[in-house]
């Protein structure tokens, strides 16, 4: 690709990309995000390509591997263009039938179509699948359409249109003003108004200025940033370019988690291609603006998602947060004014420039504008990534998009915002999801991870789990976070073992508030949220543990026993084979029994018992 020296060159190149596309040509896009790849997408791709080769269909059918389509539960997924037919749970062996269907009158392959569990009917088009129907895909709209490793694809779907618009037709102040008017708030967790942050950095007279993209998505259960980086990395690059223009920065960094190798690879390719075309580097498109992006990998620390810790890590130090004030826009990387924003925030910027701030502000609620991307995981039928307008109710998310709770169980609660967030109980299912409502309920938007829980989840165990995570990931510098999370974990562990008292509950609350108020950084300040919300909404469960030594969800090992119901046991011996402590006694074909002293409650026998003869109490 030759370097583009002017805006005219860019336009010419774009037209060439569009012209080389034949929209009547059939295109099969296969999701090759990390999730579908683990489910076998690469085999599907290979099989499709091989079959196309063998049948001489190269000129008629194109196969593209794309980023995450979002419906991870049903992966591997694929789309057939131009109709938009949606196939799910595709195996490599399905390639023949798919191609036959396309060649012979474009009949869809019935068994690969999504079956709506409520109606029993097969759905043909992606837009009609309930999971997608209620979404409003702004950031993810192109994920199923473009090859993330081909900049030509990005250009063909309207990519790098915002950049020339800004370079020629807008001043930096105007760009900041548009971002402010759009109401965009930081999508990394805290939800700080992005325009205000940009303005503060712009006004700072110190030089040079830096731009950072925080792609250290550490919240367990969140993979939105990963999917956006894997599927549409240029959308982030374009956003950063616009930010660099607005702030007057000439260097930018993307800090990606080491645990996301595919995202790192796709970003590397994207940056390389942008540099080749001259969209990154010196004198971009003849505008006089220069901007380089450095790709940096994290080394594995949740705390590095905190902005000052991330900056410390970029500077080659340990990720120990610094007190704020001063904020990064005052003193950031190398002590210079720095704007650090999340992946989704950066990707929203070209959209705002292309569609205008009013269009963006029209979506969402009064104080939470735009769309939000959630990862819907846990005890839910349709796990995956969901992009919805702010203000959508939890009910709609869980039941209409999520398809409800599997195995007919009841919703118990939803953990929103990762370890910094809180658990929203089922009683608040009508809650509209936006920054303010979640904060009022004691939770937090966070990165948008939504973990759904049913009655088989013990909320005390969940609180303990989060404390274990936070204790481990705490940088350890400040006392309340380091010792406080440790002590919270200790107390919760005792409660889970049936050794807690009611005084412990009071101590948990007091300690939680102190940690919240006195910790140095956001990790400590939000660490007690899971404890506080579970105490607030699931107090009866705590009381059952401390008063009755009982775990209502039958999870806490010291409070449950396994027993084989003699009338149901058929002597198949399957349980004995998986038991590693030899706790099950019985000969083949006769009733088995469990020796309670040896049983470690690992649950392996539960998994394999066909007649469901094992009871937990």
């Amino acid at each position: 690709m030759t370097r583009l020296e002017s805006l005219q060159d860019l336009e010419t190149f774009r037209q060439a990309c569009l012209a080389s596309r034949d929209s009547r040509r059939t295109c099969v896009t296969v999701c090759a995000g990390s999730g579908c790849t683990a489910a076998g997408a690469q085999d599907v791709l290979r099989s499709l390509r091989r079959n196309i080769e063998q049948r001489g269909l190269n000129g008629q059918i194109e196969v593209k591997s794309t980023g995450c389509h979002g419906f991870c539960e049903r992966g591997p997924v694929m789309l057939i263009w131009p109709e938009g037919t949606f196939y799910n749970k595709v195996a490599a062996s399905d390639a023949k039938d798919i191609l036959s269907g396309l060649v012979n009158g474009r009949r869809p392959v019935e068994r690969l179509l999504y079956k709506d569990p409520r109606t029993g009917e097969r759905v043909v088009r992606e837009d009609d699948v309930p999971f997608y129907r209620y979404q409003h895909r702004v950031l993810f709209r192109n994920n199923g359409r473009i090859d993330p490793k081909a900049i030509e694809d990005y250009l063909s779907v309207g990519g790098y249109l915002a950049l020339p618009k800004v370079l020629v037709g807008m001043t930096p102040e105007e760009v900041v003003d548009w971002v402010k008017r759009s109401g965009l708030r930081g999508r990394g967790g805290a939800g700080f108004p992005t325009g205000v942050k940009w303005e503060a950095c712009r006004k700072n007279p110190a030089r040079p200025k830096y731009i950072i993209c925080n792609a250290d998505e550490g919240d367990p259960g969140a993979f939105m940033d990963r999917s956006l980086l894997e599927g549409n990395p240029h959308s982030v690059l374009e956003g950063m370019l616009i930010g660099a223009f607005a702030m007057g920065a000439s260097e930018g960094y993307i800090y990606v988690r080491a645990e996301y190798p595919l995202a790192v690879e796709h970003l590397r390719v994207a940056i390389q291609q942008a540099e080749e075309l001259g969209l990154l580097g010196e004198n971009i498109l003849g505008s006089g603006m220069s901007f380089r992006i450095h790709l940096v990998q994290g080394a594995g620390a949740f705390v590095c998602g905190e902005e000052t810790a991330l900056i410390a890590s970029l500077e080659g130090r340990v990720g120990e947060p610094l007190p704020r004030p001063p904020y990064p826009v005052q003193k950031g990387l190398w002590g210079k004014p720095t704007v650090i924003n999340n992946v989704k925030t950066w990707a929203s910027v070209p959209v705002i420039i292309n569609r205008g701030p009013e269009w963006y502000a029209a979506i969402g609620t009064e104080r939470s504008k735009g769309t939000m991307v959630f990862s819907l995981v846990g005890k839910i039928n349709n796990t995956g990534l969901v992009e919805v307008p702010m203000g959508i109710t939890l009910r709609r998310m869980i039941y209409e998009i999520g398809g409800g709770i599997p195995k007919g169980k009841k919703l118990k609660g939803v953990q929103i915002g990762g370890p910094s967030g809180g658990c929203i109980p089922a009683s608040l299912v009508e809650l509209p999801i936006d920054y303010e409502e979640l904060t009022k309920a004691g939770s937090m938007m966070g990165s948008g991870g939504m973990v759904v829980m049913d009655d088989d989840t013990c909320m005390v165990d969940v609180a303990r789990y989060f404390m274990e995570f936070l204790e481990e990931e705490s940088c350890g510098k400040c006392f309340p976070c380091r010792k406080g999370t440790q002590r919270l974990k200790q107390i919760l562990t005792r409660i889970c073992r049936g050794q807690g008292t009611e005084d412990d509950l009071l101590l948990l609350e007091e300690l939680s508030w102190t940690i919240k108020e006195t910790s140095l950084c956001g990790l400590g300040q939000t660490a007690p949220n899971p404890v506080l919300t579970t105490l607030r909404y699931f107090r009866d469960e705590y009381l059952a543990h401390v008063r009755d030594r009982r775990c209502p969800a039958k999870v806490c090992k010291e409070l449950i026993t396994y027993r084989i119901e003699p009338t149901l046991c058929d002597g198949c011996h399957a349980c004995v084979q998986v038991c590693t402590t030899e706790a099950i006694l019985g000969e083949k074909k006769s009733v088995h029994s469990i020796d309670d002293a040896k049983c470690i409650r690992c649950g392996a026998c539960l998994e394999v018992c066909q007649p469901k003869a094992i009871e937990v109490s």
Binding site: P325, S474, G476, K483, E517, L520
Partner: protein
Amino acid sequence: MPRLKINGVEVEVEPGTTVLEAARFLGMPIPTLCHDDGLTPYGACRLCVVEVANGNRGKLLAACTLPAEDGLEIETHSARVERARQLLLELYVATSPQSKTIQDLASRYGVRQARFAPEFEDCIQCGKCVRICQEQMMAGAIGFAYRGPRRKVMSPFRAQSEICRHCGACLYICPVCELRCHGAQPETTLCSGCLNFAPACLAYHDHAMCFLDPCVACELAGPLRQDLLWPGANPRDRESKGDRP
């Protein structure tokens, strides 16, 4: 020259002054553990938190690292601050009950309960030893390593340090091991100003004079309350530390 208000009193300071320095200038005491005037501020112990009334929407921030800026309104002894300090000190006492510095702070700030199991740790990670070695002795032989619950002060690879000159500055400045609590039963938590749950008073000694008013030990424990002694009180019982009785 920034002008700020501390506890309602206005003061003008040089740029670059911290709120802690400004408060001390006004004679208003703020407790600290990890601070030392000869070392760079660290902001880890969180004992010096003060309430910032405006701007930061009523947050508690560490005074030692908070730059004194124009228009700040600070409360050093608000209810929120006092409550936070008390619980932090309760936690400090439980972590290192053998430290006189911590016990004294606890009594001074009205800590009256000890609800956490004692740990008897030798290090509260205030970082003073690291900073004095680095900044005053210009050696840098020790530092922090690891993260979270495993974070410790050590020399690289725990090996004998080639840089250490055996000056003893780290021992001198340590608030935990420099001054041991020498109450009759130092292993119990909450010594209460070198008094302890079995006080040195008439209950035990014929000619002792109970000269601390009020005698916290008697107020709390009574002369002969054995049930308030922790299992770890007797060094021979140290193995049973961990769970509360």
